[in-house]
């Protein structure tokens, strides 16, 4: 019952979305300096006087929770309480933000300059911003995370609209950049270590710090649910730590309610585009450093199109928890004593996190390029097999894009396709923005992967090995895939259904459902699929396919209609790289995994294996080289118990249950029927 309330059957078409306003327009027409120095007087929560950073710190250090933990740590370690207190104070010092309006003004000025060069427009739904500005309850901002830009952009927007600036949870790695780190701190960032698993004291200081800011409503708290930037443009499985912390004050009755605002930031062109692709292909991510940032200056000379920022409907934590959490569980232990959240709360927070990420996904604005990237990628792979003339004829691409556009719209996607412009112009302007990824020659459009590599004159041919050539192609393919991924959530469920129909041995509803359920389960580390919502997802998929006339559902059977063939084919091939990828990983584990394969060795080893297969032509999807996919598939196999982590002295090794992995591979490949036990019965 409860799950139904949480995942109501959506018909996003019915939802009216707010209009956008271009923030940069005004910046282009008036003085940036005056803008940066203008009077900034946001409405504060319950008319509260702004809190000095030092006062905040002393509130945290004097809190009951911290006192308790300091006492506990001191008893356990035998250190003097003062000593521990000092450590806590140092942790807080390292962590705390010190928001200064002058720094914000500095950023307001420089960012105006930067944004104007980089972007054509920054479009924001003002209504949504104003919605969250009515601070009846403490506010938590949850932006999606695709770029380093995200949090500066958020603060920039809020400053522009004269709204209370958030404090932002940032990863410690920024602190590596000395000067920039401090600048960010002064613009409202606070820094947390990436991992502090067993450190009670650290956790306590951290959670108390966040809760104190939130409870008192000193500032909206902002953090990234996905934990890190998504390199693939797919939403990442949400991290629960901070969400647990910000929900805690509500669950313990310390505030009446908390409003959580999912914010979707979509970039027409991501600044880190190629960087991400390289990273996933094994070129390690450069350590954040100030000098590195300046090198990145050359990006300034390019056109990155527009940004759309959508502030979603605030979600009340109280209404999320209604009927889900019995808050009486906190009645019998003093609330300041930290305890592990109960199973009930863990599952509640987990479900809420998924729901919020889905809200981010749904409000993500999709550009025409997302459609083009999808089509071009599919075409790219088909070409490889068929060996026809490469690329797509521009007119055909346009026609297919229009077909896809209509399908997207019917599925409720938030598509930003300028309707007053002829489709051919929309397509060509998109292509020109992404000219690094696509090439138009002789009226045919293809991905910018050159056969034989792009050899600069004067360089001998022999220096480029086939492997290097493959990797350089893969950079382009992965970059393209990341744009396709932006739209994946729109037809993920129908695509799972289409693949299930393909894989199932008959059209019987139950059988298709079993197959669907298997795939969904398999891919739940790859995509945002709310836990326990298999039946809802299945129904949603059926609903969408039936609505678009691609499917007929009878009492017993699911039948693909004549005109549905094209849709189903498109959907299936959308998911195919993932299916293939998972199979390859399984094959690797069966064929090549040794006894002492460690987790660390896994990605390089599987990469090597995949490269071998790609070069041998046994595998057509270059995108399988993505370490993201490889890690996700391993996580899935671990979750399903097909692989086990064995704790060894230094690091865990992987123990493969070959029989099980093998059968999973066969099931994925459609060579084995899905077992009924895999999913819930319909």
């Amino acid at each position: 019952m409860a799950t139904e309330a949480i995942y109501p059957h959506r018909d996003p078409m019915l939802k009216k979305r707010d209009d956008f306003e271009d923030m940069l327009e005004e910046r282009r027409n008036s003085s940036d300096l005056r803008y940066a120095l203008r009077c900034y007087t946001p409405v504060l929560y319950k008319g509260l006087a702004p809190c000095k950073a030092s006062m905040l710190k002393s509130m945290v250090l004097q809190s009951d929770q911290l006192h308790h933990v300091i006492g506990q740590v001191s008893r356990e370690t035998g250190r003097a309480a003062d000593d521990v207190q000092e450590e806590a104070s140092a942790i807080l010092e390292e962590m705390a933000h010190c928001l200064q309006l002058s720094t914000v003004r500095f950023f307001a000025f420089t960012l105006s300059k930067v944004f104007k060069t980089l972007f054509r427009s920054i479009c924001v739904n003002e209504e949504g911003i104003q919605r969250q500005a009515i601070q009846e309850h403490p506010v938590v901002l949850l932006p999606s995370h695709r770029s380093y830009m995200d949090f500066l952009l958020m603060s920039y927007i809020l400053y522009t609209y004269d709204i209370a600036l958030p404090v932002i949870a940032a990863g410690m790695d920024f602190m590596g950049m000395k000067f920039v780190g401090e600048m960010l701190r002064m613009s409202g960032a606070f820094f947390i270590r990436r991992s502090f698993g067993g450190d009670k004291l650290y956790w306590s200081v951290f959670s108390e710090y966040v809760k104190t800011m939130l409870k008192n409503g000193f500032a909206p708290v902002e953090f990234f649910l996905e934990g890190t930037r998504s390199r693939t443009s797919k939403s990442l499985t949400p991290k629960l730590g901070l969400l647990n912390i910000v929900m805690d004050p509500y669950l313990k009755g310390e505030v009446y309610d908390i409003n959580v605002v999912p914010v979707s930031i979509s970039y027409e062109r991501i600044l880190e585009e190629a960087l991400y692709a390289r990273e996933m292909l094994g070129v390690p991510k450069p350590k954040e450093s100030t000098s590195g940032l300046f090198k990145a200056r050359k990006v300034l000379s390019e056109d990155y199109g527009s940004i759309h920022v959508y502030f979603g409907q605030p979600v009340s934590v109280r209404s999320l928890a209604q009927g889900r959490v019995n808050r009486c569980q906190f009645n019998l232990v003093p609330r300041h004593i930290p305890r592990r959240p109960s199973e009930e709360i863990q599952s509640f927070v987990n479900d809420s996190a998924y729901r919020l990420v889905r809200a981010q996904e749904e409000n993500m604005v999709l550009k025409p390029w997302v459609l083009l990237a999808s089509l071009l990628l599919q075409n790219h792979h088909q070409d490889q097999t068929a060996g026809q003339k490469r690329g797509m004829v521009l007119e055909e691409l346009t026609a297919q894009a229009v077909w896809l556009r209509d399908m997207f719209r019917e599925y409720g996607a938030f598509l930003h396709w300028p309707d007053h412009v002829p489709p051919s112009e929309v397509v060509s302007s998109s292509l020109s923005l992404h000219r690094g990824l696509v090439r138009v020659c002789e009226g045919r459009v293809q991905l910018a992967v050159e056969q034989g590599g792009q050899v600069k004159p004067g360089e001998p041919h022999s220096t480029v090995t086939p492997e290097e050539e493959l990797l350089s192609q893969a950079v382009i393919v992965l970059s393209c895939a990341s744009y396709r991924n932006q739209g994946l959530h729109v037809f993920l469920r129908p695509a799972l259904l289409a693949s299930a129909i393909n894989a199932a041995s008959s059209n019987l509803k139950q059988e298709v459902f079993n197959s669907f359920s298997f795939l969904r389960n398999m891919f739940s580390n790859e995509f945002i699929l709310c836990p326990g919502a298999t039946v809802q997802d299945f129904e949603e998929a059926c609903y969408l396919l039936v609505k678009t006339g691609a499917l007929q559902v009878t009492q017993q059977e699911l039948l693909v209609t004549e005109r549905g063939q094209r849709t189903v084919a498109f959907l299936t091939s959308m998911l195919d790289p993932f299916l293939q990828g998972y199979q390859v990983v399984c094959r690797f584990l069966c064929e090549e995994a040794t006894e002492n394969l460690t987790e660390k060795q896994f990605v390089p080893a599987v990469r090597k294996f995949i490269i071998k297969h790609l070069l041998a032509g046994r595998l057509r999807y270059t995108e399988v080289l993505s370490s993201d996919l490889q890690k996700n598939s391993l996580a899935a196999l671990l979750r399903l118990g097909a692989v086990q982590k064995i704790k060894a002295a230094e690091q865990g090794t992987l123990k493969v249950n070959k029989v099980m992995v093998n059968s999973l591979e066969d099931t994925l490949g459609g060579r084995l029927p899905t077992q009924k036990a895999v999913g819930a019965r319909l």
Binding site: G253, E254, Y256, N326, R327, C328, F330, P334, R335
Partner: protein, 634 residues
């Protein structure tokens, strides 16, 4: 500020008694007759005897002679808007009686959006024909007649005993609607009468519902609609004598039907008091206090009912239960008194109680403290509790309630007083910088011998000062306590003008007090909005009792229901949500109102499955045929 309002200090008993009487009369002003000597008469349940007029006793058999049938309290006392549109309180019984309350109209209009043009008058007369005819058990009736115990199946008598004072009960009465009502009323005159009645009820399988003062706010007196047997309301109001006073041990043995004000008055005449003063003490009875685990406002000195009771006699279908001695404490297994206290009439009828008594205090003094905000006020109360120096009573009103109290100020007689008031307001808001929309007031009542009271007062004011509190005079304090007694009358006024409301209470650990107050008030406001209430509701609270580990919190909630088709249902939904919020914030199901039928659904969560099983097994043993079938609690 330490002026002596009530004089005294002499040890002359008579004088103390007189002074004490004046104090009580300050908020009660019940009829004070000289000849109400303590009766130690033997119970003779003869018709002729029981008809003798009981001078000095407040409650007659026919309650309708002095009380409203469809509202709170005495028929002669009520709020109304006079021809000039000014609020006025009628009658002579209370301090406020006969006075004009100029601020009330504006407050009602401002707070609720109420309008004097929009009236919702109550059905003026009780129409007997609307009452279900009585289902009488002939055999029971015959045998009862032979005992000579007075009884009645007059419709008015029956309707009077079919309800407590929950909003839905009074609302229905005002509309002239009656549900299931008792089929007859019996008035036992003493313990033995009750024994006879219960024996007959068991013999003839008749349902008995004990009735004391009728002030329940938990639907405890509602007759279960599914009850098919004849329902007898056993009205204890005529069992109202103090049977003896033991000055050596400081105890008094009292019949359980006596109402609070009579008990205090009669004891005062001998120089004693129990000190048990629940807000309903004008009408609620000793037996009712025991059956619901009542609490009095001066519990800090005298204790709650469970601390005051030494001995209880209760008639059950299995026979009479009582202890064999009056030792001040016993280790004899679980205390059987605790099966009785809080049993809410499901096990039997409490007939006689031995209570602790105390010599009357020599000196009494009111006081009040203004705090800049509620948080500071709660912190101060917490500190007072920590130092265990709480006065006889200490209560903290929130800002809304402070304003409400202000609105109830009677017209001041002299320009000088109003000038002084203005000066005080100026001092607090302008000079001290208190925000009039945030400040709150604690009211205090000190009791004891004069010197100690003054010392105690200083101690408390010193603590208050640490939390930014300013002494705000005796008047404000006294008015705060007076409010307690008239607030129930005010609800009737509200109901004349589309405003319905009620209060409910809880107890909660100290660390939760602020959170529960904020969250429950906010929940009420939100629920009203969600349920379509057209006007912002009044949602306010006060901390009324302090304990070592927590406090008792009272919530008041009222709204203007114009535009709603089923206001009572909306009201109940909101109250239900508010109770859920209380429980989710670590509050108890009830501090002293009891469970009744209104809060039954949460009983299992409150005391666990095993707990319910334990209570149930006691019920099954004591009353296997469910003779005491009011279906409260379980």
């Amino acid at each position: 500020m330490a002026s002596n309002s009530s004089g005294g200090g002499s040890s002359d008993r008579q004088r103390i008694a007189q002074q004490r009487l004046r104090i009580i009369a300050g908020h009660l002003q019940g009829p004070v007759d000289g000849d109400s000597a303590i009766l130690a008469a033997e119970c003779k349940a003869q018709g002729s005897k029981t008809d003798v007029c009981r001078e000095g006793k407040t409650v007659p058999r026919r309650r309708q002679e002095i009380m409203k049938w469809n509202g709170w309290g005495y028929s002669d006392s009520k709020f109304l808007f006079n021809k000039k549109g000014q609020a006025e309180f009628t009658g002579k019984r209370y301090r406020l009686s006969g006075m004009i309350i100029p601020g009330l109209k504006d407050w009602m209009e401002g707070t609720f959006g109420a309008n004097l043009q929009h009236k919702t008058p109550a059905t003026p007369l009780l129409t007997s024909s609307a009452v279900q005819p009585a289902t009488l058990n002939k055999a029971f009736l015959e045998e009862l007649k032979s005992t000579g115990i007075p009884f009645s199946h007059d419709a008015e008598d029956r309707v009077f005993r079919a309800h407590g004072h929950c909003l839905h009960e009074i609302f229905a009465l005002r509309e002239g609607k009656f549900g299931r009502v008792p089929d007859m009323v019996v008035w036992p005159n003493c313990h033995n009468d009750v024994v006879k009645i219960v024996e007959l009820a068991c013999k003839h399988n008749v349902c008995v519902i004990p009735y004391g003062g009728g002030t329940s706010v938990s639907s405890a007196l509602e007759c279960p609609p599914e009850e098919t047997r004849s329902i007898v309301s056993l009205d204890t109001s005529q069992m109202n004598r103090i049977l003896w006073i033991d000055e050596k041990n400081l105890t008094a043995h009292v019949e359980a039907g006596i109402v609070g004000q009579d008990l205090e008055r009669l004891l005062n005449e001998s120089g004693y008091c129990t000190g048990h003063e629940p807000d309903s003490m004008e009408f609620s009875s000793l037996g009712g206090w025991v059956a619901t685990r009542a609490s009095g406002m001066k519990k800090n000195i005298y204790g709650n009912i469970e601390d005051l009771v030494i001995h209880i006699r209760m008639v059950t279908p299995r026979g009479v239960i009582e202890k064999s001695c009056q030792g001040p404490r016993m280790s004899t297994g679980p205390d059987i008194h605790h099966f009785i206290m809080g049993s809410e009439g499901t096990l039997g009828v409490v007939t006689e109680v031995t209570m602790k008594i105390r010599p009357m205090p020599e000196y009494q003094k009111y006081g009040s403290v203004v705090f800049p905000n509620f948080e500071q006020g709660v912190a101060c109360l917490r500190e007072v509790a920590k130092q265990r120096c709480a006065p006889a009573s200490i209560r903290l009103m929130d800002n809304e309630q402070f304003k409400f109290g202000h609105a109830l100020k009677p017209q001041v007689s002299s320009i000088f007083t109003s000038f002084l008031d203005g000066l005080k307001t100026f001092y607090i808001t302008k000079f001290k910088g208190f925000d009039p929309n945030r400040l709150c007031v604690a009211t205090l009542l000190f009791e004891g011998d004069r010197e100690k009271v003054l010392q105690h007062e200083k101690q408390v004011y010193d603590i208050a000062a640490k939390f930014g509190g300013l002494a705000a005079g005796e008047d404000n304090g006294q008015r705060g306590y007076m409010l307690t007694f008239v607030i129930a009358y005010l609800r009737d006024l509200g109901m004349d003008y589309y405003v319905i409301g009620e209060s409910f209470e809880t107890s909660v650990p100290w660390d939760r007090v602020l959170d529960i107050c904020r969250n429950v008030k906010a929940r009420i406001i939100q629920e009203c909005k969600d349920k379509g209430v057209q006007f912002p509701p009044l949602s306010t609270c006060r901390v009324t009792q302090t304990y070592d580990t927590g406090a008792c919190v009272y919530f008041y909630f009222a709204f203007n229901y114009r535009g709603l088709s089923d206001p009572v249902h909306v009201y109940e939904q909101v109250e239900h949500a508010a109770r859920e919020e209380i429980l989710a914030n670590g509050g108890s199901l009830s501090h002293h109102h009891g469970v009744g039928k209104l809060r039954k659904e949460w009983m299992r969560d409150t005391v666990s499955n095993v707990g319910v099983g334990m209570l149930k097994s006691v019920k099954d043993y004591v009353d296997p045929d469910n003779i005491f079938g009011n279906r409260n609690l379980l």
